[in-house]
């Protein structure tokens, strides 16, 4: 285990992409919910101690990439085996200690946390697995945390993940886990530090909806859509949509549930100019810190006010930007000449 704040890019092999990125964000002064990272070694320890190596290898050996039934069967068998195997005491104790330290840090006994996979991959890391690995939200208590971490590990052998690895020919699956204090999101969503559609680098594009980010990321609502100028903070485009569902913490305080958005909030913009301003500011700082356009998940905590309530949950490089219209390199005068239809200046 390692506090997220202690991680850097170089820790990716040991802790996975998400955890190390969160560490970089914290180092850059970006507001990130506190938490700790579970190393990729913890999964190996679990597998080894439980004697699952052989079982997993045998099941995976039976998979053929194009055969869905073989994938599902292997996934099911591995999942069963992992869920019934005990988590080794050493891992268990370390998790409990890290969780207790977090509880102390935030001054809440049994604070709710989010448990997310922090996978390893070539370039885009998590991006390659987008949507294939699970997150477990609103977990309270050391025992449920251990169970959630194990569930997270199991998701590494979910059918889509197995199929993906079989497809790209990757074996030796490895994954870390990020455990973070839960942000009780009133609003959450995604921002791009450029307009991903036009490629305009002077814009921040924001998608937002009520509640936890699941609704936006999972495509369960049509989010409010904003395009904001980084240069002036002007909202260049604002499209408010009807947002019918949101994810909120379960009444018992464990887990998240999907509920209908109350009537009066459905058709109302979920971000005001102050929130957009805070988001643009954070987006610009992240872009500067990473030196490239980023796709950022964020949440604004209930009743925390701004900017204190704004938290970044994850950041990834934007990979697929549209090709900018190619501009022949020309002098200013050459461009003026082209404007008048006299573009073939030979100089």
């Amino acid at each position: 285990m390692r506090p997220l704040a202690a991680l850097r890019r170089g820790d990716t092999p040991a802790f996975g992409g998400k955890s190390s990125t969160l560490g970089e964000l914290i180092a850059a002064g970006i507001p990130v919910a506190p938490g700790f990272a579970v190393s990729t070694a913890a999964l190996h320890t679990f597998v080894r101690e439980a004697g699952l190596d052989g079982k997993i290898a045998a099941e995976l050996a039976r998979v053929s990439a194009g055969d869905v039934d073989s994938v599902v069967a292997a996934s099911h068998a591995i999942g069963e085996a992992m869920r019934s195997a005990p988590v080794p005491d050493v891992v268990r104790e370390e998790l409990a200690a890290a969780y207790a330290a977090l509880a102390e840090e935030v001054g809440t006994p049994e604070p709710p946390v989010a448990v997310r996979s922090s996978a390893l991959g070539e370039d885009g890391e998590d991006a390659t697995f987008a949507g294939q690995l699970e997150s477990y939200l609103w977990i309270r208590g050391a025992e449920p945390l251990v169970a959630a971490v194990r569930d997270c590990w199991v998701s590494l052998f979910g059918p889509p993940a197995i199929a993906y690895r079989a497809h790209v020919g990757q074996d030796e699956p490895a994954m870390g886990v990020a455990v973070q204090l839960m942000v009780d999101a009133e609003v959450s969503g995604v921002l791009f530090t450029c307009n991903p559609v036009s490629g305009d680098p002077s814009m921040v594009a924001v998608n937002a909806s009520w509640g936890l980010g699941l609704a936006v990321v999972g495509g369960e609502v049509t989010p409010d859509d904003f395009l904001v100028s980084k240069v002036t903070g002007e909202v260049v485009r604002e499209r408010v949509h009807v947002k019918e569902v949101e994810y909120v913490p379960d009444a018992g305080g464990r887990g998240a549930v999907r509920v209908e958005v109350s009537e009066e909030r459905r058709a109302v913009a979920c971000l005001d100019s102050r929130a957009l301003e805070a988001l643009v500011e954070v987006g610009r700082r992240i872009e500067r810190a990473f030196g490239a356009h980023q796709d950022v998940e964020w949440a604004i905590a209930r009743a925390r006010g701004l900017p204190d309530g704004l938290f970044v949950l994850q950041s990834r490089p934007v990979t697929a930007l549209p090709d900018r219209r190619s501009v022949e390199s020309a002098t200013a005068m050459g461009l003026v000449m082209s404007m008048f239809g006299a573009g073939d200046r030979k100089d």
């Binding site: 307009n195 002077s202 980084k230 501009v327 200013a332 005068m333 008048f340 006299a342 073939d344």
Partner: protein
């Protein structure tokens, strides 16, 4: 957002009927200015749009000089001097008194290539020597105005003066005809100067805009305008002088004379009663030349005088500034803020670009800033100062004709074409010399009366935004640069919203407001504008600045982000949508509308 859907249609100019009671309107205009049967086949296949930017009203016969001479000058520079490769000049036709224009393309690729060589050489020379050429331009323009101001219309006495009898002075018939020819010549020269730099100036700016939109596809047009716009622009000087006079009035405690609702004469007579008041009036006199040569409208009609001719606007503005100062408001134009913002935008946008794009951005921005003073200043020197003075010179010829019974009023001179005025002067001088009976006093007044009636009736007719064929694309740089007419805009006109409940135009100044519309089609109606209304007009002029403190937003038929309405609205932080094509014909005064200056849309709410 540009769609490739069906592009709709425009009426044929030959099928647009004559409005009732307007038969014979053609007589006001030259034979070549009409949609005639001889050229029907070609003219019906061309795209013609109503130039409501310069000619929102039916054209008086004399004022047509601002079409003929202006397009002689534009065509000469564009086609015969710079040889803009794909486009020659602008043709015009008059339809029910309104002016429709169409570009003449060059289609032969060999010809285009040949012209490109000339253009590169000649336009290149202008861009490379811009500052010195522009300085020389200012000098010759000021000399031209001085010559105009010195031009007097000789009187016709009972006997020629002694200087003719005993000296070498020329006779009056020569002097009058010479003065008229000189007046016409001065207008020719003014239009020649007017267009010398115009296309090149706009061209640099449009190129910078294109570069910005290539690399920063979502950049709002107004940010581009803000980066380029000049800080110390002639056009802002007159209002700056009024603000200074307003402060002076308070400092010297003569502000009590400025009571809302008083006429300029009433205010001046109260001021004349006290010593500090007289001092203030002396200061006002000093400001008048040249700053009161602002036009009350956009300059291309004889109707638009200067602030000297009608001081209502500057005095209303003074009264408003004084009231604001008394209320403790800051009336200064935030020039520091504008300057800082201009540099901040330029450096922040520049920093977002890669090195190569950055170079083009910096160079084109610098070039645009070099050329832009001309674009902004020619308006004051040519359209306002020269033209308002020139119309008064023509009025003096009208006075001479009226004195001898050829016209009932000096103002009637504008109902005759410039050649008809020449002809009337010819006859006047002939009969003055011979002592014979002139026919003019019987011949001209009925013609004038009929023409005035026609103009009044034609003013009630709503011209379609365009006639003829819908073009596949607008490629003419002049149409794009000077009129903001683009393919997208033209297709939007052609696909006019059937239910008429919304209009789209160019977003020119951000913000959303709702309110009652005030449709202003003529400068004489601007006095009707009330607090909180949304101004709906063909185009505005900087001389209207005082009413911008009353309105909530502005919507225009024509113009781009650098149009006056756009510039002034950004100054006053009011939403503006420009270039809607048909706002003045689709919106009624009093109707509630919503203006979205960020999206460029206008919604009719009732």
């Amino acid at each position: 957002m540009e769609t490739a859907s069906p592009v709709g249609s425009f009426p044929s100019p030959y099928e647009v009927g004559t409005p009732p009671g307007c038969e014979g309107w053609e007589d006001l205009y030259p034979y070549y200015a009409l949609f005639d049967d001889e050229r029907r086949e070609a003219d019906e296949q061309r795209f013609w749009f109503w130039n409501s930017m310069h000619f929102p009203l039916p054209m008086p016969a004399f004022d047509a000089i601002c079409i003929d001479t202006a397009y002689q000058a534009l065509g000469t520079w564009q086609n015969r001097v710079f040889a803009v490769p794909p486009a020659m000049g602008i043709d015009y036709r008059c339809l029910n008194g309104y002016i429709y224009i169409s570009g003449n393309p060059v289609t032969d690729p060999e010809k285009i290539a040949e012209r490109a060589g000339h253009f590169q050489q000649r336009a290149g020379y202008y861009f490379e020597h811009w500052d010195e050429l522009y300085a020389a331009w200012r000098t010759k323009m000021e000399a031209l105005i001085a010559e105009l101001e010195a031009l007097e219309v000789p009187a016709l006495g009972e006997l020629e003066p002694d200087e003719v009898a005993f000296g070498d002075q020329e006779t009056s018939f020569c002097a009058v005809l010479d003065a008229y020819r000189r007046a016409l010549r001065l207008a020719d020269v003014m239009w020649q100067h007017h267009f010398e730099f115009l296309l090149l100036g706009y061209g640099a700016y449009v190129t910078f805009t294109e570069l910005c939109k290539t690399h920063l596809p979502d950049i709002p047009d107004q940010h581009i305008a803000q980066m380029v716009a000049g800080l110390d622009v002639l056009l802002f000087r007159p209002d700056a002088e009024l603000r200074r006079l307003a402060r002076l009035a308070l400092d010297t405690e003569v502000d009590g004379a400025f009571v809302e609702g008083r006429t300029p004469a009433e205010i001046e007579s109260e001021l004349a009663e006290s010593e500090p008041g007289r001092t203030w009036l002396a200061e006002l006199e000093a400001v008048k030349h040249p700053w009161f040569h602002m036009a009350t409208g956009d300059g291309l009609y004889h109707y638009y005088g200067s602030w000297l001719d009608d001081p209502t606007i500057p005095f209303a503005s003074l009264t408003g500034h004084i009231a604001a100062l008394r209320a403790g408001e800051d009336i200064e134009r935030p020039s520091d803020h504008i300057a800082t913002e201009r540099e901040r935008l330029a450096s922040e946008y520049g920093a977002l670009l890669d090195d190569e794009a950055r170079k083009g951005f910096d160079d084109l921005l610098a070039l645009s800033r070099t050329v832009f003073p001309y674009v902004e200043e020619h308006k004051f020197l040519c359209d306002y100062w020269f033209l308002t003075t020139w119309w008064n010179t023509i009025r003096d010829f009208g006075g001479l004709l009226a004195e001898h019974g050829f016209l009932e009023d000096r103002e009637d001179v504008f109902q005759l074409s410039r050649l008809e005025v020449y002809s009337a002067l010819d006859e006047l001088l002939l009969t003055w010399a011979t002592g014979g009976q002139p026919r003019g006093p019987m011949y001209w007044p009925p013609i004038v009366a009929r023409r005035k009636e026609l103009l009044a009736r034609l003013a009630d007719w709503t011209p379609p935004p365009a006639v003829g064929a819908v073009p596949d694309a607008i490629l003419d740089p002049a149409l794009i640069m000077l009129w903001g007419v683009t393919t997208q805009r033209v297709h939007a006109w052609a696909q006019a919203d059937e239910d008429g409940s919304s209009l789209s135009g160019t977003p020119a100044s951000p913000g959303v407001v709702e309110g009652p519309a005030r449709v202003v089609r003529n400068v004489s109606e601007i006095g009707d504008v009330r607090e909180g209304e949304i101004l709906v007009c063909s185009i505005t002029s900087p001389a209207w600045a005082p009413i911008f403190s009353k309105i909530q937003a502005a919507v225009t038929d024509i113009g781009g982000v650098m149009s006056h309405a756009a510039i002034v609205c950004r100054e006053y932080a009011l939403p503006a949508v420009v270039g809607t094509g048909r706002a003045t014909s689709q919106i009624r005064t009093g109707q509630r509308i919503r203006v979205d200056g960020s999206a460029g849309s206008v919604t009719l709410l009732e």
